[in-house]
Assembly symmetry: C2
Homo-oligomer: 324 residues x 2
């Protein structure tokens, strides 16, 4: 036993000082994670979930080494990715600040053989092994299906849209497609609130002045919903029976969990997608097939479902120490 | 101990004879699988992989009950799905014969609360929990990247396309986008071979008459490749250095595995996608998150990677008892 221990110590020592081309450090799998910086809101959630996945994977597998870098601009992020390349990463997980300026450097990474996972914001050219994102039409569809059911198929709705862009259009069109099946539901108005709490407050004040009776509000986003709820509270009215936001912010999930009579559901567009992206990078670079899959590689495209959060399951979606 | 055993036997007996509303059969999770019938080719592979997944899941979980039905026409498949509904299925896995005629019945299934997984051929309206398919642009891209590398970035190619349709266009455009980066590679011709061995033979005979020198052939499909190889053999020529099909048919995978000098790779468009679809239906209906995923539900959209099969990994893709 002593002899074996001695041998092991020698092996450990040799590994620690390193042999040409076979040092311990060189054997580690290096995974770079490049994300936008933020300390609140949805992108704050991205940073929090990236750190959570890194912690969990580091505990599970000592052979993994992670480098998490955050950027406050596309230019900074291009530099971040170049720095990660110098570190010799085996895999890159990136949520691009902006698609166009990040595409060339990610293409370079991909072409150099690094396992590349792009999150949420797609590149303008295919240059990744895996693309993972949320389901925008799904968010609109799940929201509308739940609202129509809760409204017993009748009533007057106002909608607060996001920033006018493809994401918003996909959500709103899917929402309206479902509502079109209910002749007794009327969408009275639909204006952009730019995914902003302040804008949500302003638009909702306007709606409350404009319409004597509103049955339900679709705010599409939890930040907007916070402004909407404030405007409604300040108005002193009590006609609205139902408010629905979106994304799964912890304050709103808590309201659902606590049985709030007006905020009875939420729909995910989960910042935890970056954590899943990190898992897929680990499995991809280590050539581990997904459990239950009959293929060898990770899928090239994964769109995460928009999940309905209701009082019965809200605790599964509540992360009190998250920033989002 | 004896007492406990006795109690267990009574419990088992009660379970076996059944109690009103709680019979053992009623507790089983019923999963219907509706696919086109075929005894050869890619759809033959679909039937084989569906049966394989059903066998494996049945062994793993005695609480699952599967109904596999095959249809030779869209009308027959509509009837099949209606029959499955009468059986009280909890989940449906369907590869639609044709999108338009199957959409209404699948929408009915989905709206009734049955967990619905649509494979390969999408519906004309969103009416599923999960859509899973192969990666057509990926097939073109992976094929072109490998060919360009094998050709050292230079040479003359002929292409045999599939049936003119979106799938073919996505594959061919992605192929050409990669090849455009290589100024010394020339695509001399690109004609439809309709994913048919006979057509592949005819088009290849024509190419061999038309062009004195060909360096490489992209047939996009293994059935087409079989015709191409026959035409080349009969021509007695020896100028072509490289042939690439697609899909992962066992005869072609075996050639790769055995070190054929001309057929050195294949690219998957795997009929095993239906087996993965069955796994996702089981996990979805049982509310089991995917391993490594930080979400509760199965993704709403999964596009399987086009995987490159080369001599080093070909044995992982070779299923000698498969029909495809």
């Amino acid at each position: 036993m002593k002899k074996l221990l001695g041998a092991l110590i020698i092996v450990a020592f040799v590994m620690a000082i390193g042999l040409p081309g076979t040092s311990l450090a060189a054997d580690k799998i290096k995974i770079g994670i490049s994300i936008p910086s933020a300390d609140h809101g949805w992108t704050g959630g991205i940073v929090w979930w990236a750190q959570k996945a890194v912690e969990e994977w580091s505990q599970k597998d000592a052979n993994l080494e992670f480098f998490v870098v955050t950027a406050d601009s596309p230019a900074k992020q291009v530099g971040d990715v170049e720095d990660l390349m110098v570190k010799g990463i085996d895999a890159l997980v990136i949520l691009p600040h902006d698609s166009a300026p990040l595409t060339p450097v990610v293409e370079e990474v991909y072409n150099s053989g690094v396992y590349t996972v792009v999150v949420d914001r797609g590149l303008i050219k295919e240059a990744q092994h895996v693309y993972i994102a949320g389901d925008n039409p799904g968010l609109g569809r799940v929201s509308a299906e739940w609202m129509a059911k809760e409204m017993d198929g009748k009533g007057k709705i106002v909608v607060l849209e996001g920033i006018p862009c493809v994401i918003n259009t996909e959500r709103v069109e899917a929402f309206k497609a479902v509502m079109a099946k209910y002749p007794d539901i009327e969408i009275m108005d639909s204006q952009p609130a730019y995914w902003s709490t302040q804008k949500g407050l302003e638009i909702m004040e306007n709606y409350l002045q404009k319409y004597d009776k509103i049955d339900a509000v679709w705010a599409q986003d939890d930040d907007v919903l916070k402004g909407v709820l404030q405007a409604y509270k300040e108005s002193g009215r009590d006609d609205i029976k139902l408010f629905l936001g979106g994304a799964g912010a912890k304050d709103i999930v808590k309201m659902v969990m606590d049985g709030d009579p007006l905020v009875r559901a939420d729909v995910t567009y989960p910042p935890s997608m970056v954590a899943t992206a990190i898992s897929l990078a680990v499995k991809g670079v280590k050539n581990i097939p997904l459990d239950g899959f009959y293929q060898m590689k990770i899928p090239s495209r994964v769109i995460l479902a928009s999940e309905l959060i209701v009082p019965e399951n809200a605790k599964d979606y509540y992360y009190p120490d998250s920033v989002f």
